[in-house]
């Protein structure tokens, strides 16, 4: 058998199963929260209330949204390629959820005498796992748009492919600095490193900015939502999708937002550490991570409320001509400093 990646810490199979379910349940619950938060916060940013009619303060709005979509007819254009059209939302959803597994909520802890790592999996390739699934996630968008057999979808798919691939390069280079400073790819070790040293967004500020901006592009969020671009491409890759399949794309986008926030928190914002309180109790760790994640999601929404969508050539120019050289320079300078000190 080929070993793809070594895993830092093993539990028995039932613990792994259990914690996989718990992490899925908990992180997936963030999706409706983020969905509602986005609509309400966007409203606040525009002097509005946002949805506040369904349930108390509108808390039932995500259920109403998803419920509406799920009960709609599954429509497929005649020009589409059937099995790819059906597969694409599933790919989007699967990769989004799979990436969730590597967000560490704490290190290995002792729960009722059992040693459990509070993360889905801690592979030695660490952050590269996220990039691998990020790479596959493009297929969801690209195949979805292409298999729809419509021109808007096709344009959206092409944009998605070009944009996501070019930003993944910059994003990958942006975290090289982090990896060099820590000396490990494992996310738990990166988070643990920040307990003793500065949080990495201070020494790696350039990397942090590039990672965040590339994160917007990776998750297809404004101002980089060119693949969807409602104004010019109707809905981009998801133009032809409706009902449950659209709901899958929709939910996958929000899972991606949560996951990118989780990775950003782990890489740059100290993971489960609280500043100036090194002896924080262990049970607080997952809560700290989730609070930081939600704060980062707030930033996502804040940026969405602020920035207009970029033009396509501006987007590519920014990715290749600004972020790629900057990220390379950042990696180079970090390498020199790491070797020198």
């Amino acid at each position: 058998m080929i070993t793809v990646a070594e895993v830092g810490f093993y539990e028995s199979w039932w613990v792994q199963l259990l914690k996989a379910l718990v992490i899925f349940a908990v992180v997936f619950q963030l999706v409706p929260i983020v969905l509602l938060a986005e609509r309400k916060l966007l409203g606040r940013f525009q002097h509005r209330y946002g949805p506040n009619r369904v349930g108390l303060f509108g808390i039932m709005q995500p259920i109403a949204d998803i419920g509406k979509l799920v009960f709609k007819q599954q429509f497929r254009p005649r020009t589409s390629t059937g099995w790819l059209f059906t597969l694409a939302p599933a790919i989007s959803m699967m990769t989004a959820v799979a990436t969730m597994a590597i967000i560490p909520f704490s290190n290995v802890v002792d729960i009722f005498g059992t040693q459990v790592g509070l993360y889905g999996i801690d592979p030695s390739i660490g952050i590269l796992y996220a990039f691998a699934f990020g790479g596959i996630a493009f297929y969801g968008l690209m195949l979805g748009g292409w298999a729809s057999g419509s021109k808007y979808s096709f344009l959206g798919a092409m944009r998605a492919a070009a944009q996501l691939i070019s930003y993944e390069v910059a994003q990958g280079l942006a975290i090289v600095g982090v990896v060099m400073m820590v000396g490990s790819l494992s996310l738990t070790e990166i988070a643990a490193y920040q307990a003793e040293h500065l949080w990495l967004f201070i020494p790696q500020f350039v990397g942090f900015v590039i990672f965040t901006v590339a994160g917007f592009a990776e998750t297809n969020r404004p101002p980089f939502d060119l693949a969807e671009a409602d104004a010019e491409l109707v809905g981009g890759y998801n133009t032809e999708y409706g009902g449950g399949r659209f709901a899958a794309f929709f939910a996958a986008e929000y899972v991606n937002v949560v996951v990118v926030s989780g990775i950003a928190v782990t890489l740059f914002l100290g993971g489960w550490n609280i500043p100036f309180w090194a002896s924080a109790p262990t049970w607080l760790d997952p809560i700290v991570v989730i609070v930081k994640m939600l704060a980062f999601v707030f930033f996502f929404i804040w940026v969405r409320a602020t920035l207009p969508r970029l033009r396509y050539d501006q987007l590519m120019g920014l990715g290749w001509k600004v972020f790629l050289p900057l990220a390379t320079l950042n990696a180079l300078v970090t390498a020199i400093l790491v070797v020198a000190t």
């Binding site: 940013f45 002097h47 209330y49 409320a305």
Partner: protein
Amino acid sequence: MSPYDPGDVVEVVRGPRTGAAAGAYRAFAATLKGLKMTMSRYVEGPLTIQYPEEKTPVYPRFRGRHKLHRFEDTGLEKCVGCSLCAAACPADCIRVVAAENTPENRVSAGERYAAVYEINLSRCIFCGYCEIACPFDAITMGHDYEMADYNRSDLIFTKEMLLAEPLARTPLRTEGE
């Protein structure tokens, strides 16, 4: 002169071109500025008036649904059935049928009174000419603007309906608000 003569070309004034680095720096600063702007909007809070629960206060001169008036002391109707409002109405939505006051049945202060006074609110354009035409201030434009109904025939308001106080009072704007 070259074979291609563009003629009168206005020179376009462009801002100084920045390099990639300066442009990125500027974009970063502008982004922060924008973020600050939206955050200040957030802090200011929503300006929405949640309509069915809260209502927009109207100005004193707002022209809403008509009201017919009585004299406060005697309780007699001010309208004497002269039909000047009907004559002034550009939408032709007022119908007045006058009748003589008798000593036994005294309805208005004048010689005659309006036996039938109907305003078809589905045709009314709320111009307020009836109010201006009325020599006795018997009809005025009120502040009520919630008049939606399921039937056109329900929108023909009779004299009794116009004389009655509207059920839900619309908030009035205070001076300077």
